[in-house]
Symmetry: C2
Subunit: 222 residues, 2 copies
DNA sequence: AAATAAATTTAGACAAATCTAAAAAATAAT
DNA sequence: ATTATTTTTTAGATTTGTCTAAATTTATTT
């Protein structure tokens, strides 16, 4: 209950959560890069968060979240994604404009606010980029989606999420008529530049996409 | 343009705005009481805000907002009241629960957010307590309402705002069937305890209210 | 008008979060 | 297995906003 963290602490917790691969460990430099800060600052904060039992940390050995820490992280991710959903669905924000605003909104402390917002939005399970939104208990849909790059030829699939939130990506997707939910299949793969040809459902002409685009586009085979 | 204030600075600016009677001056102790802090802290912040040209301040002489400062204050008040409106109208918060949450939300910096929220809410001109909401240019409806205590007998009037946001007041108003917009007139005034008898439109039985209640209830004669 | 009281400001300290530069530990290379 | 390199931690300083205690200024009494 006493999960009372400062904005800075919350940002560290969230960053560790995002960097943490299952089983593995996060390092000081990784975290410093993620948070655009210096390694020395990270060390200071790690000591504080260890004391607060948010993460397991042995000097020089790396660190990862405790159960408590993971719970806190899921709370912050929940807030972030619900606010993003609100901004896009209710306030007509563009896809690429929401991240920074949600970055501020996620630190508003009222639990009642976020639960009522959840209800107001009708309990959405995915944010505008296709990332799952943790529910009130921290549970979220497991994503078994794969990079479009790894989708076998001629396998029908649906676009489920995008791992980049730039306006440049949004532009490109609009131009190519691709959005979350689009049904498609890979018709050809070109070895020379690893580009891919797609057929998108309900769209006549085949679409060609680059390796870079295929890497950030995630799909769920049907 | 560079109106870039910290949360603490914004709280000072807002507090001075609320304490500042037209023409008059605000004192260090008043502000310390309002912000639940110490006079020494206030003095420190005043020097900083004077440098930022937010307020006029001469040591020992009191202070008030500059045009720049008033503009900043109106921006914060706008955010606070729009968020309160959102919480009550869209998220079904109770009247008495919104202040603290809005106190946090008002510091979110995105101007685009607040203008889009304003549009989403359909440009409301009064918050749930009847206080006017500044528009995008800082303009707001002038309230020529008076305390119910000063309303002459037998003058039809409409409840326009309440100067107290406690749940105790909300309780009492519910019980007496009074809300913002209620039409009423004073039928009798009792000298002994300065209590007042009211007739509320569409409600058969007359209602008796105490001096304390009459003082926080504001009405607009029709 | 001097003395007392009240309000305000200054001086010095502290906690949070950050930084730079130097020291220590772990890893990689010869 | 030493040496060199990279990574991480420590030490000490800085900024923001706060505090207490002491000094100063203004206001109030007598």
């Amino acid at each position: 209950m006493g999960s009372n963290f400062s904005v800075a602490e919350e940002n560290y917790i969230k960053a560790v959560y995002h960097l943490q691969k299952p089983g593995a460990i996060v390092t000081t430099n990784e975290l410093a890069a993620e948070l655009q800060t210096k390694a020395a600052s990270v060390t200071d904060m790690l000591k504080k968060l260890k004391q607060k039992k948010v993460l397991n940390y042995e000097p020089y050995r790396g660190f990862n979240l405790t159960t408590e820490g993971r719970k806190a992280a899921l709370g912050i991710v929940r807030k972030h994604r619900l606010w993003e959903y609100f901004l896009v669905e209710k306030l007509q924000f563009g896809w690429d404009e929401v991240h920074e605003v949600a970055e501020e909104l996620e630190h508003i402390t009222s639990k009642k606010l976020i639960d009522k917002l959840d209800a107001f939005l009708d309990f959405p399970r995915f944010d505008p980029h296709g990332d799952p939104i943790p529910d009130v208990n921290g549970k979220m849909q497991v994503q078994h989606d794969i990079s479009l790059n790894d989708l076998p030829v001629n396998t029908p699939a649906e676009v489920s999420s995008v791992k980049d939130q730039s306006s440049e990506l949004l532009d490109l997707l609009k131009h190519k008529n691709i959005s979350i939910g689009s049904r498609l299949q890979v018709t050809r793969k070109f070895g020379f530049d690893q580009s891919i040809e797609l057929r998108i459902k309900d769209i006549a002409a085949p679409v060609n996409i680059s390796l870079q685009l295929a890497q950030v586009l995630y799909v769920k085979p049907l």
